[in-house]
């Protein structure tokens, strides 16, 4: 092997790993790597803020299933990545962050742009490395990719001091075998325990009121075919978390849609009255369970998850199965087919009950022909894109409406920050998703509060002619906080009014993007169709919507599903519908 600069070794490993796009922003400590990148056969996206770069890499990874790569310099460059890395960590997104560090002999001297990045990112990465010797560089980078994409995926950070990127070393690229051998303590468990799978099958056969509760792990494992087969074989109704939207066609009669805080009435009631809950790649997040003692209180629980630490973390489960969701489901289906499946007939009564719940309280809102309802915007986007677009969302009310009113039908279709709840995520993630899936329409549903947190990177999308659409649900409020203040703080609207805001159309135009606006319901579909025609630059649509619309239904934080707020009494005043006293 020829002698190479550390920086060139970095590029070699990226190419070996099949990376085609990197996101980032250069600075002093990572200049050598950017020099090597200058003529490397890689698409190199220059973001305008490292946080946006990290969300782009994240959106790219979520849309494609490949590892997203982000580069940043030392100190502030790296600290700006922190939110993006934590976002990826909470949602198990495979990502490798490569940060420059001050030269080895300056570490610990409070050098210019020095920060202990390995220390800062330790609790928000699956693993991280500080390279102290060029001999280790190639292996560490290979380990980083291996760790990021295997087992329960997650972000891995590699901190490389500048002198190491400059040194020259005669190296060999480590093979996958070398990498595995170098990580004796890392052995993800993929195969489920057969006796546990047998037990699970027995419970499924006996259950009268079963519900499938599917989370992001099913998406990561690529298990949508298996999920479909299981539902059709067993006729078990299915609810998904925010992270698993699209794993199963939401127009299917057995789809209960989302559960939890902003789950549907019928999903939550089904879970509450279930006698068997099959959790698949889900982690019983507090936004899902509400009051844990009243979460599916009569149900036996089967929990399939690749991460043993997720099992019995928030709730004690009856049949834990540690393994890859796809493999476990394949075996479970095989196991179920071993015996005749006439027990499926006993499900019909349960399904009828669920249908009644669906009829009684469908997902709905009060329509208007005077003022634009945010839910209406999402429905119109759904119609205009025929349900085929990739949707990303920021965090807040618009995120929940995007989850509720767009009907998803393929996995990796709805990208949003479910775990960390990072405002400003939606738009940069859309940029990354579009680069990963150029043939798909990509629409970022953003809030006015959320979008402005990464507004600077609109210029990145313009520079690289990335035609994403930003559907701005503009209510001039930090809407979700306002909703909580209305419901739980006696309508004392503290620091939530964003009435002072830029003219978003002019803002888009000044960046070189297309700016559109709709202020009346009749204009909504027109601007969406206009935006869909643009294919050489981003489009921002400013939807001026009903300012005080609430996201409903809602289970207040820490409450039981029984205490669901279903519908507003009249404008601005929510009726708390305590189902039981």
């Amino acid at each position: 092997m020829p002698k190479k600069r550390g920086a060139d070794i970095v590029i070699d490993v990226l190419l070996e790993e099949g990376v085609d796009t990197v996101f980032g922003l250069p600075g002093g400590a990572i200049m050598e790597v950017y020099d090597a990148l200058f003529d490397a056969p890689l698409k190199n996206i220059l973001a305008r803020h490292e946080q946006a770069a990290s969300h782009m890499a994240d959106g790219y990874a979520r849309a494609t299933g490949k590892v997203g790569v982000v580069l940043a310099t030392s100190g502030p460059g790296a600290t700006n990545l922190v939110t993006g890395i934590a976002t990826a960590y909470m949602d198990s997104v495979p990502m490798v962050a490569i940060t420059g560090q001050v030269p080895t002999h300056y570490i610990g001297t409070d050098a210019f742009q020095e920060a202990d990045v390995v220390g800062i990112t330790r609790p928000i990465t699956k693993h991280n490395f500080l390279v102290t010797d060029i001999k280790d560089l190639a292996l560490i980078l290979r380990q980083a990719f291996y760790i990021a994409r295997t087992g329960r995926p997650g972000p891995v950070l590699v901190d490389i001091p500048k002198d190491i990127t400059q040194q020259v070393y005669d190296y060999k690229i480590p093979t996958e075998k070398d990498v595995e051998a170098s990580l004796p303590g890392y052995k993800p468990h993929y195969e489920g325990n057969p006796s546990q799978i047998k037990k699970a099958a027995e419970l499924i056969r006996k259950a009268k009121r079963p519900v499938l509760y599917v989370g992001g792990g099913a998406v990561l494992s690529g298990a949508s075919e298996e999920i479909k087969e299981l539902v059709e074989l067993t006729r078990i109704p299915l609810t998904t978390t925010n992270m698993a939207k699209g794993i199963f066609d939401e127009e299917h009669p057995l789809a209960l849609h989302m559960l939890g805080m902003h789950g549907t009435y019928y999903a939550n009631m089904s879970v509450y009255y279930s006698d068997l809950l099959i959790a698949v790649g889900a982690r019983f997040d507090d936004r899902v369970t509400g009051k844990i003692q009243e979460f599916a209180p009569e149900a036996k629980i089967i929990h399939i998850d690749i991460d043993p630490a997720s099992i019995s973390k928030n709730i004690t489960v009856d049949v834990p199965i540690v393994g890859d969701v796809k493999l476990v489901l394949q075996k479970l289906i095989k196991e179920l087919k071993k015996k005749p499946i006439e027990w499926v007939k006993a499900r019909e009564q349960w399904i009828k009950q669920i249908e009644k719940w669906k009829e009684k309280h469908p997902l709905t809102y009060q329509k208007s022909d005077k003022i634009i309802k945010p839910q209406y915007v999402i429905e119109e986007i759904y119609r205009a894109t025929k349900g085929e677009a990739i949707i990303t969302a920021g965090v807040g009310q618009h995120q929940m409406w995007a989850a509720m009113f767009y009907k998803y039908k393929f996995p990796r279709q709805f990208l949003n920050s479910g775990g960390l709840g990072t405002m400003g995520y939606g738009f940069p993630a859309a940029v990354g998703a579009k680069l990963g899936k150029p043939d798909k329409k990509v629409i970022a549903i953003e809030g006015d509060g959320s979008f402005i947190m990464n507004v600077q990177d609109l210029i990145t999308a313009v520079q690289y002619r990335i035609p994403v659409i930003i559907a701005l649900i503009n209510n001039s409020f930090l809407g979700m906080v306002r909703q909580w203040q209305q419901l739980f703080y006696d309508s004392r609207y503290s620091s939530v009014c964003l009435a002072t805001q830029p003219d978003f159309v002019k803002l888009a135009e000044s960046f070189g993007a297309v700016g559109l606006r709709a202020t009346k319901p009749s204009e909504v579909s027109k601007v969406i169709n206009e935006a869909l025609k643009v294919n050489d630059r981003p489009v921002l649509i400013d939807f001026v919507v009903d300012r005080e619309e609430n996201v409903l239904p809602m289970v207040p934080a820490g409450k039981s599903y029984r205490e669901m707020i279903l519908s507003p009494k009249e404008k601005g005043e929510a009726e708390t519908m305590y189902l039981v006293g």
Binding site: R122, L130, L183, G185, M269, E298, D307
Partner: protein, 190 residues
Amino acid sequence: MGEEIKVLKVREEKKTEVRKHIIIVRAQHNFGVLTRITSLFAGRGYNIESLSVGKTNEPNVARITIVVNGDERIIEQIIKQLRKLIETLRVRDITNQPHIERELALIKVHAGTDSERNEIMRLVDIFRARIVDVYTDTYTIEITGDTEKIGAFIDLIRPFGLKDIARTGIVAITRESATRKLSYKEQQTD
């Protein structure tokens, strides 16, 4: 305005108690590995009672004995997280297994008069400790044993005037007879 639906009995969760746990970790001896391990405890507001690190029979493998007081359920969760760390090779909670635990303490005590010296030497004898350094008015004592024994010894010599104490923290190892019997069950839970 409400709507009557059947209220179900709430889910009962196992009650757990706070107690002492001895956790043994074998890990790759890389820099930063200790921080990764200890921060899992710190992040939950748990103070590690004692921690000792040493080399093992395998190269680049460290053995870490952690003593911590904590709620059963949370400790269980921490152990799962410890196992998840890339650099850990094996993690066990040996609290409920027959095991031997030892700690070493070096104690400086005031020993001025003859009678004080005699009394201290008698105690040293009874506890099978050793005097390892002597100065005009000071004895330095080395003692090994489990935490209770060392505690009892310190209480007894405290009245003479303690000057300094250095304790290693517990190291522990399971009894071989027990590990043989338990190995099958442990495989099931690991």
